[in-house]
């Protein structure tokens, strides 16, 4: 996973071996995720982590992505720009990245839950969906009658 924007990045790259570019935040984050998973399994309490609040080096981000692995689900939400929602290889750990219409990364989060809220359909939308469908069916039956 890359929290930094892709090609527009001009971050200075250093010719250093990986351990020395570790801020130490990556490993701390993995511990935090582990604890969040345990908490979720026990009490069902979900956790979200704002990755922009945690300074990570590029190498460290890559390393973390490797540690979490690749999962089975990969969804894209289209609203006010693109949002990608994917489960990592560590079940229950989700990565969510928000972009705007010009594909600029606006925010990146880790969520520990069985299903991120963004994937679930809002209750009002379901009601509205039912209303709309009902309305459509009514229109069709009226058309048939005519």
């Amino acid at each position: 996973m890359k929290t930094e924007c892709g090609s527009s990045c001009s971050t200075a790259r250093f010719e250093v071996d990986s351990p020395s570019t570790m801020t130490g935040n990556g490993i701390a984050l993995l511990y935090e995720i582990t604890h969040a998973l345990e908490r979720y399994a026990e009490s069902g309490e979900a956790t979200a982590i704002d990755l922009q609040r945690v300074p990570l080096s590029d190498q460290e981000s890559d390393w973390m992505a490797g540690m979490l692995g690749k999962g089975e689900i990969n969804a894209t939400l289209h609203s006010m720009g693109r949002t990608t929602i994917e489960e990592t290889g560590t079940s229950g750990v989700w990565r969510i990245a928000h972009y705007d219409e010009s594909e600029v990364l606006l925010g990146a989060f880790i969520e520990v839950t069985n299903c991120p809220e963004l994937l679930c359909t809002p209750a009002e939308d379901i009601r509205e969906g039912a209303e709309r469908l009902k309305r459509r069916l009514k229109e069709i039956s009226e058309e048939v009658k005519q």
Binding site: C5, A12, V16, T23, P55, G81, I96, S102, V104, P122
Partner: protein
């Protein structure tokens, strides 16, 4: 767009779905540096939020703060926010000029008396009112007048927050900060030279969302953005811990990205969100591009010793003090030594030979 529209109304008109609103709330929380756990509260607050009137005034400044804000990177989110406020008066951005501009300010003030948000960038000269005037009104008078009807004031940039560059010694214009003149209104300082755009928008969003100013530190800065110093959040911190420092800007250490403490980085005493939020669409921040932090969000950063002198060095004058002390000490020591030698010599001169008959004490007197 009516002034009574809520933000949600604005969003819905822009065709934003409920999932989109959730996304917006998550990003708003992030922009305000609040925990993602706050998202439901933000969503609830935003549904109630009304568009406040904003008056933006610029005094002794360089327009860098406005530049910073207008180059704020996200087309969508900040736009939405600014669509949701009513920017009724902005020295730099408004189309109106002259009397029409002043009329707009007065109208906005009258219409929203007691409710509008006043944003100020630039310091205020109190030396001579003629140093900086707008429409013939001195900066000080205009600030005091406008502040009277404001609900809260946001001082954007180090100049309005702490006096900034105009305040630097010897401060020829007698520049002061907003808080030096206005003491009866809630003031949020958003220092930085310039401040980080998303911090400016984050603070405005906070006010817009919750209708109150965020939690502040002792220097009037929002804790959410200025709660931690650059040094603690710096990705080069491990090099500091290991004692690996760049000695010059072009040595091996500099190339390897080692800590810039010795090159004068003021990260340890600078509280700002640069290391996490970063600049230029989240690309990097000064340390990441190889230059030490100047401490621009701190009061008097211009006078904190050389930008390229390590933080632990004293301000100019210490070496001289030591030199004068040494010289004075040598003289005083010699004088004291001469005095002591005299005492000793006199004792020798007064010496009476002690014989065995002198060992018993004489009659006590």
């Amino acid at each position: 767009m009516s002034k009574d529209d809520s933000l949600v109304d604005v969003l819905q008109r822009s065709g934003v779905s409920r999932r989109g609103f959730l996304k917006f709330c998550a990003l708003t929380a992030s922009a305000m540096a609040l925990s993602p756990a706050m998202v439901p509260r933000i969503a609830a607050a935003l549904e109630q939020a009304r568009r406040p009137s904003v008056i933006w005034m610029s005094f002794q400044e360089c327009t860098g703060c406005t530049e910073s804000l207008t180059r704020s990177h996200s087309a969508t989110i900040e736009n939405l926010i600014f669509n949701a406020i009513s920017l009724d008066y902005h020295h730099t951005l408004q189309a109106a000029s002259g009397e029409a501009a002043e009329a707009a300010r007065e109208a906005a003030m009258e219409e929203n008396w007691g409710k509008y948000l006043l944003v100020v960038d630039g310091s205020i000269p109190v030396g001579n009112p003629g140093f900086s005037t707008i429409a013939g009104i001195s900066n000080k008078d205009m600030l005091l007048e406008t502040a009277r009807g404001a609900a809260a004031i946001v001082a954007v940039g180090t100049c309005s927050a702490y006096g900034g560059l105009p305040h630097a010694a010897p401060n020829p214009t007698g520049a002061v900060s907003v808080a030096d003149l206005v003491t009866d209104k809630p003031i949020v300082n958003v220092p930085g030279c310039p401040p980080i755009p998303v911090v400016i928008s984050g603070v405005l969003t906070h006010y817009l969302t919750f209708g109150e100013i965020p939690e502040l530190d002792e220097l009037g800065r929002p804790m959410a953005f200025y709660g931690q110093n650059i040094h603690d959040r710096c990705y080069r911190r491990p090099f500091y811990e290991r004692g690996q420092f760049a000695e010059t800007f072009d040595d091996e250490g500099a190339k390897k990205g080692w800590c810039l403490f010795k090159l004068g980085c003021k990260g340890p005493v600078t509280y700002n969100a640069c290391a996490t939020v970063k600049w230029n669409q989240g690309t990097s921040f000064p340390i990441e591009s190889g230059h030490g932090c100047l401490g621009c969000s701190e009061p008097d950063f211009w006078d904190m010793g050389g930008f390229y002198e390590a933080l632990s060095t004293p301000l100019p004058g210490f070496n001289e003090a030591i030199a004068y002390g040494t010289a004075a000490g040598a003289v005083a020591g010699l004088a004291s030594g001469v005095l002591a030698s005299r005492v000793k010599k006199r004792a020798k001169d007064q010496h009476q030979t002690v014989s065995v008959d002198d060992l018993e004490k004489g009659e006590s007197s």
